[in-house]
């Protein structure tokens, strides 16, 4: 089949399946996987065994994804996460390997095979998890950060695992099957160590002092495609360098990303590479879907399904325990454990490597590959199950339970709904509260929802773009909806849902950038606020105006609030470091937010305002 025909099949499968999956609420990952199964050798048979090759090629998407993640992480932030990366990562990896090793021994494999499989299966799928977390906008939550820590640690550990596997090979390394995995494979250990540090140093200094100046020159040519080419060149060369010295390309590009995070080209690099990353990841998932061997599964159903269940349950329980040790709250922990319970793409690499080393025979390799692919396919379904069935029952409730003393009467609706209580939405909520306007809040971070409920806010937990949640929050009776969700895409989705279903609801929206604002204007919105502290207060001031407050009085309240907030910031900055150190940054953020909200309760901007108030003079004179 020629290249164009192949491209046609892959693209058509993706374009047809992914939107359907998204519409059904299954997420894009599952859409790609289904597309892969559909065009794979066992259903429509458009592609045969080359699915595997496609997968190796498409793994480059994971490499790009880590580069982009690196770009979003400043070096100082990365440094702060070191404890959770090493701590959570090592607990997860060691115990998962141990238990899966025991299971494999029970299945009746030799210890070498069991160990190779255990190490492979300890890995989770960076591609699936990070894609899902990003899609759901959970990057900054505790579960997002915990997932990221564990995944990054796994990526790092691939290197030593690749080094260990040859040592347990039954036959040792036979000449004919020697894997030339790296240029430096034959060098003594200390040389390898030196070359490792040299490569890392090269990435750090080369990135800052070589690549950034090159980008400046390229940027001056004003050829956009040249800039894209440079970005690709960087990622490819770092990946190759890493491969050459036997390190994980993903890890190398991640490092390069972190180095470039503080450069002025961060956003351009991100937006240039993002489509490539997305396409390659999609292709990768299609490859996984196509590689699922349904014949094998049909003949060994019991064994394979038993292994899938055993592996996922083991991984799930250990992740849950890891989260517990690191004090991740129960909802977040459930999500974290479900998200990482699959076997990841590195297992494909490690399993075929073990096969080449003669540790594992082709039959078992195929079985284990099938197990891996099935666990990857099940993950999006498990997450869906968690979101719709398990979490609502055991975790933070979508709506706080009636009868609790901190809860307002059920059925009572506030005139204002705030969707998204991040740094923008929270300022609005705090200001409105200080001015006696209660707002209903929608947020999808369970930690934040618990905190806000504790502080007496009326909060609905879940995805604000869901029609039933909007209805439950009283969108039918509310006057104003403030769309303040961090992700512009989700925010726009919310706006179009709200406009379609609640035509009387007045929408005021947060815009992240100028481009974002243009799009909101195209949607026909007039109340658009380009984000910052001041515009969030401006939005809240305008809400007071729309609710009937005189606009000059509201403006003065806004000015007072800004001053108060500035003072509070300085005060809290001084004693922030006295607080208990939290392993996850998200937890520290919430601790600070809780203090701030408690502080706000003492703030009453209305009552002390006697400026130009003739009624006060009247009352005083009357008393005399």
């Amino acid at each position: 089949m020629n290249f164009l025909a192949q491209a046609l099949i892959y693209l058509a499968a993706a374009v047809i399946c992914v939107p359907i999956a998204k519409r059904l609420g299954l997420g894009s990952v599952l859409g790609y996987l289904l597309a892969g199964m559909l065009i794979g050798p066992y259903v429509l048979g458009f592609i045969g065994k080359e699915g595997q090759d496609i997968m190796h090629f498409a793994e480059f998407g994971v490499v790009m994804m880590l580069f982009i993640i690196g770009l979003e992480l400043e070096p100082s932030q990365f440094w702060k996460m070191r404890k959770s990366i090493v701590g959570m990562g090592s607990i997860q990896l060691v115990f998962t390997s141990l238990f899966i090793f025991i299971i494999m021994m029970i299945v009746g494999l030799t210890w070498q095979v069991a160990l190779a499989i255990a190490l492979s299966f300890a890995m989770s799928s960076t591609a699936i998890v990070l894609q899902t977390i990003k899609e759901k906008g959970l990057t900054l939550t505790a579960s997002g950060q915990a997932s990221f820590s564990v995944l990054l640690f796994q990526d790092i550990m691939v290197i030593p695992i690749l080094a260990i596997l040859p040592l347990i090979a039954v036959n040792g390394l036979t000449e004919s099957r020697h894997i030339e995995s790296s240029l430096l494979g034959n060098l003594p250990g200390w040389m390898q160590g030196i070359s490792f540090f040299a490569a890392v140093a090269l990435i750090i200094f080369g990135g800052r002092y070589l690549f950034v100046p090159i980008l400046r020159v390229v940027a001056r040519t004003r050829l956009r495609e040249l800039f894209t080419a440079s970005s690709l060149l960087l990622v490819v060369s770092v990946a190759l360098l890493m491969q050459a010295i036997g390190l994980s390309p993903a890890l190398g590009t991640f490092l390069a990303g972190v180095v470039l995070a503080s450069s002025e080209y961060r956003h351009e690099l991100e937006s240039d590479l993002d489509p490539f990353k997305g396409l390659l990841l999609g292709l990768f998932f299609i490859g996984v879907g196509a590689s699922i061997n349904f014949e094998l599964i049909a003949s060994r159903t019991l064994l394979i399904m038993g292994l899938v269940a055993a592996v996922m349950i083991t991984k799930f329980l250990i992740l849950l325990a890891t989260g517990k040790i690191f004090k991740v709250a129960s909802d977040q922990n459930l999500l974290f454990a479900f998200a990482l319970s699959q076997v990841g793409e590195f297992a494909f690499v490690l399993l075929s490597f073990s096969n080449q080393l003669d540790i594992i025979n082709p039959e078992w390799m195929d079985i284990m590959m099938a197990v891996t692919a099935i666990t990857m396919t099940i993950t999006p379904l498990l997450l869906l199950l968690n979101e719709r069935v398990i979490d609502p029952r055991f975790g933070v409730k979508e709506i706080s339970e009636p009868g609790r003393k901190d809860d307002k009467e059920i059925g009572e609706h506030h005139p204002v709904i705030i969707a998204g209580f991040g740094h923008f939405g929270s300022t609005i909520g705090r200001f409105l509260r200080a001015n006696g306007v209660e707002a209903t809040i929608l947020d999808h971070d369970s930690d934040r929802v618990s905190l806000l409920r504790k502080m007496g806010f009326r909060v609905y937990y879940g995805d604000a773009t869901r029609l039933d949640l909007l209805q439950a929050a009283g969108a039918d009776n509310a006057k104003i909806l403030i769309a303040a969700i961090d992700s512009p895409e989700v925010n726009q989705e919310l706006i179009s849902t709200a406009r379609k279903n609640f035509p009387d609801l007045h929408i005021m929206a947060r815009a992240k950038s100028r481009m974002d604002a243009y799009e909101l204007i195209d949607m026909g919105l007039s109340d658009i606020y380009r984000e910052s502290l001041h515009t969030s207060v401006k939005l809240a001031v305008d809400v007071l105006g729309k609710l009937g407050q005189r606009s000059y009085t509201a403006t003065r309240q806004g000015q007072k609030f800004l001053k108060y907030d500035e003072d509070a910031l300085k005060e809290m900055a001084e004693h922030r470091h006295d607080m208990q150190k939290y392993v996850l940054k998200a937890r520290e953020t919430f601790k600070l937010q809780e203090e701030l909200l408690a502080k706000d309760l003492a703030l009453n901007t209305g009552e002390s305002d006697h400026s130009w108030d003739s009624e006060t003079i009247r009352e005083t004179l009357r008393k005399k």
Binding site: Y552, S614, I617
Partner: protein, 204 residues
Amino acid sequence: MANKILILFAHPRFERSASNILMVRQLQDVPGVTFHDLYERYPDFNIDIEAEKVLLEEHNIIIWHHPFYWYSAPPLLKQWIDLVLEFEWAYGPGGNALEGKTIFNCITVGGPRAAYSRDGYNRFSLLELLTPFNQTAYLCRMTWFPPFAMHGTHRISEDEKLQNADQYRLLLERLVKGEFSAEEILKYEYLNDWLDNIKTKITV
């Protein structure tokens, strides 16, 4: 001939001023009157000069309606005067955009009328204290009428406030219909006195 009246209303805490709430409620449906709420329109003091000029051009009787704070107007009205009455437009060479229009102050005053006299604690008459407005109008080649004022807002009763609001409405209706003579009005110290005089004339 029908006149068109523009009320430039400036009150920083309108919601807490019972007298002004009554007055503004009374004038809402008077035909020929445009009520322009400066503090509501420009809470950030960023006055749209061009829009203000258009409004001025469309009307021939202008009222500065404001509380009489510290013998003057609230800051936004002063801002309005500073920004809108431009050189070479409102005054100076070629500055005759407002020529022939009529302007006056409608004010609410805390102290009683008696306090605004040589012997009162305010030492000057209201007319004297309004001299800067009078002169501003003069420089813009406008006719400045004596003020329509409600005294003693700190102490008067609800009934008196209602009466005052009715009288304000009566004044506006008369001005719109053109039922007045400028020379006659200029003889009075307060527009209120002129109105009272007409009423007594009619009853006589």
